[in-house]
């Protein structure tokens, strides 16, 4: 009964337009999308470069990208905390306990996901695509754009996965952001805080928003993919 009441209160809170709640949602979306926006070009470029070029240390880079997928975000938060703290090498930036610090954390968290997925997508592309582009006279830049266009659904999946990872992570945002109300309090850090206080309504309301964001983004991806999901892979 307590759960049902909490869910009712959560919806009431959401519909009331509670400014505190919507500020938390805004900060979460802003930092996650900005982090993703900064990480995507770099990660897609790295993923493509690793997938399409032979060089010494390539396998080590692939291994590192895959290993960093499983790094706990709280560990990334700890490392960033040490870097950004006043005595740290990047302390002069003044990013600790700010949204910029959270964005930096989101970039670090999103990078390996985006690199690993882009790498897999480009490696899975038909080798004749790049060969055809090259023999038709395309520059290296055009070959890259052509290939990324061909594997665009894989790249989109990379971005969606990256977004899923950054919007749902709590450890790094808590450590680097400090969970300051109205400044660095995100959906996940707010849920952790409210739950620890026994205030379930706001936690559930934010949880509902988190699920709604995931649903909308994945629905958007399916629309963009068009007929790709229309037929089953095995008949």
């Amino acid at each position: 009964m307590q759960l049902i009441q909490a869910v009712r209160d959560a919806f009431a809170l959401l519909l009331s337009g509670d400014p505190v709640l919507w500020r938390i949602i805004w900060i979460s979306l802003k930092t996650s999308l900005l982090g993703l926006l900064l990480a995507t070009p770099l990660a897609v470029g790295c993923g493509y470069a690793i997938a399409s070029h032979a060089f010494t240390g390539r396998r080590v880079l692939i291994w590192l990208a895959q290993v960093s997928l499983s790094l706990p975000t709280v560990l990334i938060g700890l490392l960033l905390y040490l870097l950004l703290s006043r005595q740290g090498p990047m302390g002069g930036l003044g990013w600790l306990f700010t949204q910029s610090g959270i964005v930096a954390g989101q970039v670090v968290i999103a990078l390996p996901v985006l690199v690993a997925f882009t790498l897999a997508a480009v490696q899975g592309a038909d080798v004749r695509l790049a060969e055809t582009a090259i023999t038709l006279g395309a520059s290296r830049w055009r070959v890259m754009l052509t290939l990324l266009h061909e594997v665009r659904f894989g790249v989109m999946a990379a971005i969606i996965n990256g977004f899923g990872r950054v919007i749902s992570e709590v450890g790094c945002a808590m450590m680097v952001g400090g969970n300051i109300a109205g400044e660095t309090r995100t959906i996940t850090t707010a849920i952790a805080l409210e739950t620890s206080k026994g205030e379930f309504a706001q936690g559930i309301a934010l949880g509902i928003v988190l699920v709604a964001i995931a649903l909308v983004i994945n629905a958007g991806l399916m629309v963009l993919q068009g007929d790709a999901h229309a037929a089953p892979a095995v008949r």
């Binding site: 004749r128 055809t132 023999t135 038709l136 006279g137 061909e150």
Partner: protein
């Protein structure tokens, strides 16, 4: 006839294995050649070397009157040589965009691209495929789009790898009918193939790769 391409001492190795060691290969401007040889003789690899997809050693290379090095692959050859894969792949755009790809890469004006694409589609008899998604085309249709995609560049040398492989019936005949028109359009053509109808096309010179060496017979 002028010599378009002359290569001496062309060697291709895979590790320690020497695939071929060709003393001399000469391609005349506007001439057509069929390249035959047993499976694994290196026909496809030779074509891929000529279009820069594979690296090889060459003691001397002259293309269109200019002495060049094969590595790195010269821009002059990239712009003048077109290659059609045995199993052509289509970009996930549209049929006209596939054909226009190389022209766009060369920065050609839009009006000229449109004109050339229309002309190439009419030549290949694929006007009815204009709105078809390229991924849904049959093997024969893809081969014709790929031929149009190469021809539209008006290359000095066109390399075709088994253009009729895995095609039968009308699709194969449609492709075979296009080859002589390519030859008459002024491009030199080199076709790796086993297809007797292509080998016996009139005016076609024969190249044969046997045990790593290249033998040549003039057109009968």
């Amino acid at each position: 006839m002028n010599t378009l391409l002359s290569i001496e001492g062309l060697k291709k190795r895979f590790g320690k294995r020497l695939l071929f060691d060709i003393d001399r290969l000469e391609i005349e401007a506007g001439a057509a050649y069929v390249l035959t040889g047993a499976n694994g003789a290196g026909k496809s690899t030779l074509l891929r070397v000529l279009c820069g997809l594979e690296r090889a050693e060459a003691a001397r290379l002259v293309f269109n009157g200019a002495t060049l090095h094969l590595v790195p692959y010269p821009r002059a050859m990239r712009d003048a040589i077109a290659y059609v894969h045995q199993h052509p792949v289509m970009f996930a755009t549209s049929v006209p965009d596939n054909i226009a790809y190389g022209l766009k890469a060369r920065g050609m004006p839009r009006e000229e691209i449109s004109k050339r694409v229309d002309e190439a589609m009419a030549w290949a008899g694929i006007g009815h495929l204009r709105d078809s998604p390229p991924q849904t085309l049959s093997g024969g249709e893809k081969q014709r789009v790929a031929l149009a995609r190469a021809r539209v560049l008006r290359p000095k040398l066109l390399l075709l790898d088994e253009p009729t492989a895995n095609l039968d019936g009308a699709a194969r005949e449609a492709v075979i009918a296009l080859i002589p028109t390519l030859m008459h359009a002024g491009s030199s053509v080199v076709m790796a193939c086993h297809d007797r109808d292509l080998i016996h096309l009139p005016g076609v010179h024969r190249l044969k790769l046997r045990e790593g060496r290249l033998e040549m017979r003039s057109a009968s």
